[in-house]
């Protein structure tokens, strides 16, 4: 991998203690590169950014309508959520419509991402369940699709299962990557993840936001997903989360999704733009500052929006006592 000169610096006091490098691809709905930094064809995994694309067959198949999933529930299918009460409740709601419980979810359990919720659960001695897993919406959507297809509910995570085959087809079609060239791995939550060049993932996001060139059933599903996430940004991530704030601050002009290992994908539906940024070393602390700074430099965020996102753009670093000891600073020119 050729090193990228695009960096985000970690300052401690007067000097740089560590640096992060990133790669960027910005494309139009034809997949043509509009902007790039580092290696715009870098091969890596889409991780949770793919959730918005994976939700397409849940809608196209008729599963969402059959089970009466609302927009908040559609947004939760696309989420790496915080495990706050409303997220847990919405996941339980989807499962209830299927006649299922949290025991049907195979994503595993972890503490809620939302620290105050996790702390409160600890203090009350409440053990996290699969519903608190940040992927419980995605897994609930997979179970809805599986049930609608009358497929086996217990093997839904296997790549051979009809659910995963439909999701693979959607990710391949939207990104333009043939199935034989799509790299498969296993995610933190046990289901397949998709490895492709970052400009191909950016193309999938450009098309998601601007699906005019796609077949009508797919285009309609794209519009429904974008509308659902715009209406319920809180269900895409949650309190104090960048993905949620980015939609709120831009009034839905930008819809973006983080993934593990420092990847971020976004679409600007009215501009026909897809954008993917990957921090080379996978560290999320550099991702949000780089995304905000890149959007600012490309003229895609207004000054007032950059200001509203300052806590994500140039965060301060505190020590155990709460003293400010450093800061994170984007340091690049596109």
């Amino acid at each position: 991998m050729k090193p990228s000169d695009m960096t985000v610096r970690i300052y401690r006091g007067p000097i740089t203690e560590s640096i992060h490098r990133f790669h960027l691809a910005v494309v139009n709905t034809d997949g043509a590169l509009l902007h790039q930094a580092g290696d715009p064809h870098l091969l890596t995994f889409a991780r949770s950014t793919a959730k918005l694309i994976q939700t397409l067959p849940v809608i196209e198949s008729g599963a969402a309508d059959h089970f009466g999933l609302g927009d908040a529930e559609i947004a939760l299918c696309c989420a790496s959520h915080n495990g706050e009460a409303e997220h847990v409740s919405a996941a339980r709601g989807i499962l209830g419509k299927l006649g299922y419980t949290h025991e049907h979810l195979q994503c595993g359990a972890h503490e809620p991402y939302h620290a105050p919720t996790a702390q409160a659960m600890r203090e009350q001695g409440i053990t996290p369940t699969t519903l608190h897993n940040n992927c419980s919406g995605k897994h609930s959507g997979m179970l809805a699709l599986s049930a609608h297809l009358h497929a086996a509910p217990d093997t839904y995570m296997s790549i051979e299962h009809p659910v995963q085959q439909l999701m693979l087809e959607a990710v391949c079609a939207m990104s333009g990557v043939p199935q034989e060239l799509m790299h498969l791995g296993i995610d933190g939550c046990g289901v397949p993840v998709f490895g492709m060049p970052i400009d191909r993932l950016a193309l999938a996001f450009a098309r998601l936001g601007s699906p005019a060139g796609l077949a009508e059933a797919r285009a309609s599903a794209c519009r429904r997903i974008v509308a659902a996430v715009r209406k319920y940004p809180q269900f895409l991530a949650g309190s104090d989360r960048f993905d949620t704030r980015l939609i709120e601050v831009t009034g839905g002009r930008i819809i973006g999704k983080m993934g593990a290992e420092g990847i971020f994908a976004l679409t600007m539906p009215e501009e026909g733009i897809g954008f993917v940024l990957k921090v080379e070393d996978g560290n999320q602390r550099a991702m949000y500052p780089a995304v905000v700074e890149a959007l600012k430099q490309l003229g895609l965020l207004k000054e007032s929006e950059v200001s509203a996102l300052a806590a994500y753009h140039t965060p301060t670093i505190h020590n155990w006592q709460g003293t400010e000891v450093g800061r994170i600073q984007p340091d690049f020119q596109l």
Copy 2:
């Protein structure tokens, strides 16, 4: 910063998902570079690697003898410890010899690094104190030095305090960096940290292990620190920690210390070698694999020792369900 081509790869399934770059300096007791990778003069903070050097004035001043500190307590002064029962007990022991309690420590409190200990404390509803902070040994040593100097115990973290001035002098003298060129920041635990080129920190470690050229009082303190850590490696870090295992596996031939933000410093007393490796992006997950592989390639670890450290050399990555989904793989040739 010029990018380093020395990398550690994070594999997920068949492909590289993220990569880490590192910089390396290996020097003799004259500070001459024996081996290098990336930028051997990279400026960064020594963080907790400096604890072994900072313990010098605790001994040289007579404080350690005056308060009757034993070798396990000296080792704890050098530690980023696990917060296991024996560490907490030893820190309490040092404070007791001063007539102090954990309330005199200003390092702040955090959960023990040792996950089973932290889990047990949660289940029993025990709140962590400053004694559990990984730096409680260092802070206890600072208080011992302060008490011996009859200095104010409540301002011991300030750079103007005699304790910090003596520690600054020791770090400067051992590394050969003049005080006016030493960069100062604030650590996670509130005390000053020292910013210098990595080859200068390596020199401090070469001299720590092979102090024959130093004044007798300092050389004697170096020997006492090395002997203490060799005798009680469990007090330098703890169960399932690399720093402890490296000493155990090599029978004390190599003594190394991790620091936050991916820095590792080691000394080989019999070889007169100091070695510092810094992961550019500060991620610890790449540090241990890079250190073991570099030591292996330089012929400084035997095959059997590399095997005994396999869990740190090429760790596997598991997901929430415990399934193996990837691995960490050093990928460089020095």
